[in-house]
Amino acid sequence: MTTDTEQYNIHEEPFYQAQDEEIELYEAAYAARLPVMVKGPTGCGKSRFVEYMAWKLGKPLITVACNEDMTASDLVGRYLLDANGTRWLDGPLTTAARIGAICYLDEIVEARQDTTVVIHPLTDHRRTLPLDKKGELVAAHPDFQLVISYNPGYQTLMKDLKQSTKQRFAAFEFDYPSAAVETDIVSKETGIDTELAAKLVQIGATARNLKGHGLDEGISTRLLTYAATLIKGGIDARSACRMALVRPITDDVDIRDTLDHAIDATFG
């Protein structure tokens, strides 16, 4: 059975605005095939960054969104039944290791700990993946690289990576970009003018100030681009902001009122 690697290739350049020297650092890590961990709050551009790097390096990218129901066989592969009996199907991690893709495990902390340990043999000098049930040992393709991401903001005692997992990765810490860069991102991504983008970013900053004081997480860059897209589509700026920026992030009446007021205050 052959895998269609073409489907994992990224053909168009994703828009990515570098915040720092992260592109050079990633290239260096990839050259050494070091596993990489990307940390940062939700919607700050982690996934976009990985996508951009896959495009820049010209490698296929296989993304897995992790969740707590995910088991090891969801990553590695499993037997399926068909008319002639049972048939083995590779999981995304196995596929990536075979074809030499970048395997991106998004929000890895969401997966159960017994699931995350299956990546261990791939992330040290062995670079192999044992398939117990099939009795096969897959040696990783030379181009294969593992990238994981997680959001330290959600971290609780229960949901944290084990030290033995953490210490297999080189890490990038992302945060929301500075106001100027974020304005640039919002306006380039959606095509609204920079003045409006700056106002959206200002509202975003208001919410980020409230983190830990009623909000678990500030308004992400992603939500700002949603609002900008709505405005671009002809929606009134205030309604767009309420819909895209405020309603998604809070059910707390006091916080909602404050943010609504911030929108009114910002748009005059």
């Binding site: 088991t71 499993r78 039944l81 004081h213 006091d254 943010l259 007021h261 910002t266």
Partner: protein, 754 residues
């Protein structure tokens, strides 16, 4: 001729008044002028008749004089001449019902009250409320054959104008009813209440107020300050009611931001937005203003610097949040330029207010050249980057230099439409180099701080209490003091446990079944996380054999964890030290035994668990002892605290339950359970009505229920049937044989959480 006629006219009325008081003679002419201006012909006639009646009542000249002075105004304000009769009629009622001393305050305050109510219906209702209050508080003592006048009535009447300014008539009635209800038998406290001296008088008034209360919106405003201004400070309310003359203004200093305790909606701006405007103005100062040395400036110069600096920070704030402009514009008064022509009046406030308005409002119409020029200079200055407070001060000083008038020093100052009420008093702007003789006060203030630091223990927490008679909460009624239970000898508890080791063994068997089995396999799933090989092969065989295979060949896992937090609350009242019926142990010893066995049980299961005890000595002193915290291990410390519990005082259950719930609510758990172990009904020595605390406890159970806390009572009182169902509904167990408590209590827990 005209004058003669009027005099004739008045003379006729004077005769009709038929009164010999010399004081009345003096004021009569003036009163008639007012009466004729405000009342119709018919009105004047009934005015005189009623006055005449009051003059002949034999209560001295005062009531008559006050009536003559106030009545026309009242009648004109509530738009009805019938009120003239009502005033007289009610004053008469007071007089004949032993409260004649209250006549004067009643008549005196009637105009101020009428100004608030503005309608005849409301005014009549007001009289009814006062009449009710008077009837209920005038006490006749059996055998004395006299009735004593209402102690609080005069004070109530004096406070009525203030109260009605802050409360609706409905709120006023509630406030009065509260006072009547709780203080009708206690003259001294009644006076305190109705003269607005006592704390709960203030508290009830606060509760009934209209408008947007700071206390209800503190969190919102805190978020506003933090979110929009990256600033944060204590928000301290001050009251506007009790300080008529000085009119406190918002300000901030090292101890926090002071704001009025309530803002009504005003000029189309909601109360909450008025708070935001005030905070925005102060936050802008905190961000952009620099302190200035002020010793050499005259008061006028300071006033001018303040105005320009206020305008500057608002300008910057509006640059950042353009939406603020709408609110500022609505709240900023529009000064009337025509008043600049007034003579013999100091107009400095007006000129500055015009500058301020003109800067804020591009559509403001005015002629004054000086104002125009300085507004221009202001904007020229603001165009440059990085404006400073000092630059504004330069402009402000030259404004004063240019526009100073001789009249500015006159005592008559023009204030109309010049006060900007959302601005603070700018005390933060000034630095005084010459401090004056402040040294002494500096040290006093240090001393005070040190004393405060020495205060030991936690401050009390106040909880409201439900009054079933009135169907409302008494605000902040119960004071709960919490403390850690002192330690005793832990070996006592170990011995008790050893004694019950047989029971423990039996419990252990049940507990093993209760223990969470973290991962549970769910088989026969069409879709699951893993293939269930046994089932799959069976299906495959079916398939190969030509039968329809079972498609449910997958399995998945789910976690089956317990997530329960338990708070055990012990009643430590005096009755615990009695011997239990039918055995030679005290109830206390049995409770200790039961609690330690229960604690051991819960520890085995692994649930989060706290133990606390309470007793009370009146509402002012409810003691709450922490014996075990949620995070604490069931170990020596806890055992030693449990060993040292001592019974005393009474059982005020509601306050203790609310306090325990305060901690339980903070726990993260799916199920929250509060077990209350008590040996009698809720009671306290300052409560005569035995239903009151029972009803309060019932209300507390309801509150807990709403907060997701399941309360359950284990009652050791054989007669508990009479009340326990009233409080806990069906959530209780009565243990008749107290000696079996140690084994019963863990069983109750297990059956509750199975």
């Amino acid at each position: 001729m005209d004058e003669l006629l009027r005099a004739m006219d008045v003379k006729v009325y004077w005769q009709r008044l038929n009164c010999n008081f010399a004081q009345a003679d003096k004021i009569f002419d003036n009163c008639m002028v007012e009466a004729k201006a405000l009342l119709s012909q018919q009105g004047v006639v009934s005015y005189i008749e009623n006055a005449s009646f009051l003059g002949k009542m034999g209560r001295g000249p005062e009531p008559l004089l006050v009536y003559l002075e106030e009545a026309p105004l009242v009648a004109s304000l509530v738009d009805e001449e019938a009120v003239l009769d009502d005033l007289r009629e009610f004053a008469h009622y007071m007089s004949t019902h032993t409260n004649f001393k209250a006549m004067v305050p009643f008549l005196q305050s009637s105009a101020a009250v009428a100004r608030r109510l503005r309608s005849y219906e409301l005014f009549k209702r007001y009289i009814e409320i006062v009449r009710e209050m008077m009837d209920q508080t005038s006490v006749s003592v059996l055998g004395h054959h006299t009735t004593f006048p209402s102690p609080g009535l005069q004070d109530l009447l004096k406070q009525s104008p203030i109260l009605l300014r802050e409360l609706s008539l409905e709120g006023y009635k509630n406030w009065v009813d509260y006072g009547v209800k709780y203080y009708s038998t206690h003259p001294g406290r009644q006076v305190d209440y109705f003269s607005l001296q006592s704390p709960d008088s203030h508290a009830v008034m606060q509760r009934e107020r209209h408008g947007t209360l700071l206390i209800d919106n503190e969190r919102k405003l805190d978020a506003y300050l933090r979110g929009l201004w990256q600033d944060g400070d204590y928000l301290v309310p001050y009251s506007l009611i009790f300080d008529e003359l000085r009119k406190p203004m918002p300000y901030y200093d090292d101890y926090g931001i002071r704001l009025p305790d309530v803002y009504d909606d005003d000029r189309g701006v909601s109360g909450i937005n008025r708070y935001r405007a005030t905070l925005a103005h102060m936050a802008a100062h905190r961000r952009w203003s620099q302190k200035m040395v002020v010793d050499n400036w005259s008061p006028f110069q300071r006033l001018s610097v303040e105005t320009f600096e206020d305008s500057r920070v608002e300008y910057l704030a509006i640059q950042r949040f353009p939406g603020l402009k709408k609110i500022f514009l609505a709240l900023h008064p529009i000064p009337d330029e025509k008043a600049l022509e007034l003579e013999n009046t100091s107009l400095i406030n007006l000129r500055l207010a015009m500058v301020s308005r003109a800067i804020l409002d591009p559509d403001y119409q005015y002629e004054n050249e000086d104002v125009r020029e300085f507004v221009g200079r202001f904007f020229a200055e603001m165009e440059r980057d990085g404006s400073k407070s000092e630059d504004m001060a330069m402009i402000a000083l030259s404004f004063i230099g240019r526009t100073r008038r001789q009249t500015d020093a006159l005592p008559d100052t023009y204030f109309d439409n010049t006060e900007v009420d959302y601005r603070d008093d700018n005390r933060h702007l000034w630095i005084y180099i010459e401090q004056g003789d402040d040294e002494e006060t500096t040290f006093e203030h240090l001393d005070k701080r040190q004393n405060e630091d020495e205060v030991d223990g936690l401050p009390p927490r106040h909880y409201h209490e439900w009054d079933y008679n009135a169907q409302h909460y008494r605000p902040d009624w119960v004071s709960v003091y919490e403390a850690l239970q002192p330690r005793g000898n832990a070996a006592v508890i170990d011995n008790l446990l050893a004694k019950n080791s047989a029971t423990a063994k039996r419990l252990k068997a049940i507990l093993d079944m209760l223990k969470p089995q973290d991962r549970v396999r769910v088989r026969y799933q069409e879709e699951g996380s893993e293939l269930d090989l046994d089932v799959a092969i069976r299906s495959l065989i079916d398939f190969k054999g030509g039968a329809a295979p079972d498609p449910r060949v997958n399995m998945s896992h789910k976690t089956d964890g317990r997530n329960v937090a338990v708070s055990l609350v012990l009643d430590l009242s005096q009755s615990l030290s009695e011997k239990a019926a039918g055995c030679n142990q005290t109830i206390l010893e049995l409770s200790q035994e039961a609690v330690s066995l229960l604690a051991w049980t819960i520890d085995q299961v692994g649930d989060k668990f706290a133990i606390s005890g309470f007793n009370s000595n009146t509402r002012h002193d409810v003691r709450f002892y922490h014996i075990k915290g949620y995070a604490e291990e069931w170990g020596e410390d806890v055992k030693s605290r449990l060993a040292s519990i001592e019974p005393s005082y009474s059982t005020r259950m509601g306050g203790a339950m609310r306090h325990a719930a305060h901690y339980l609510k903070g726990q993260k758990a799916d199920k929250k359970l509060m077990l209350i172990l008590t040996d009698g009904e809720p009671a306290d020595i300052d409560v005569d009505d035995e239903q009151l605390l029972i009803q309060d406890a019932r209300q507390a159970v309801k509150e807990l229920d709403q907060d997701g806390v399941y309360s359950y009572c284990i009652n050791l009182d054989p007669k508990a049937d009479e009340y326990v169902a009233d409080i806990f509904g069906s959530q209780y167990t009565i243990i008749d044989h107290v000696d079996r408590l140690p084994e019963k209590l863990p069983e109750v827990f297990i059956s509750l959480t199975k």
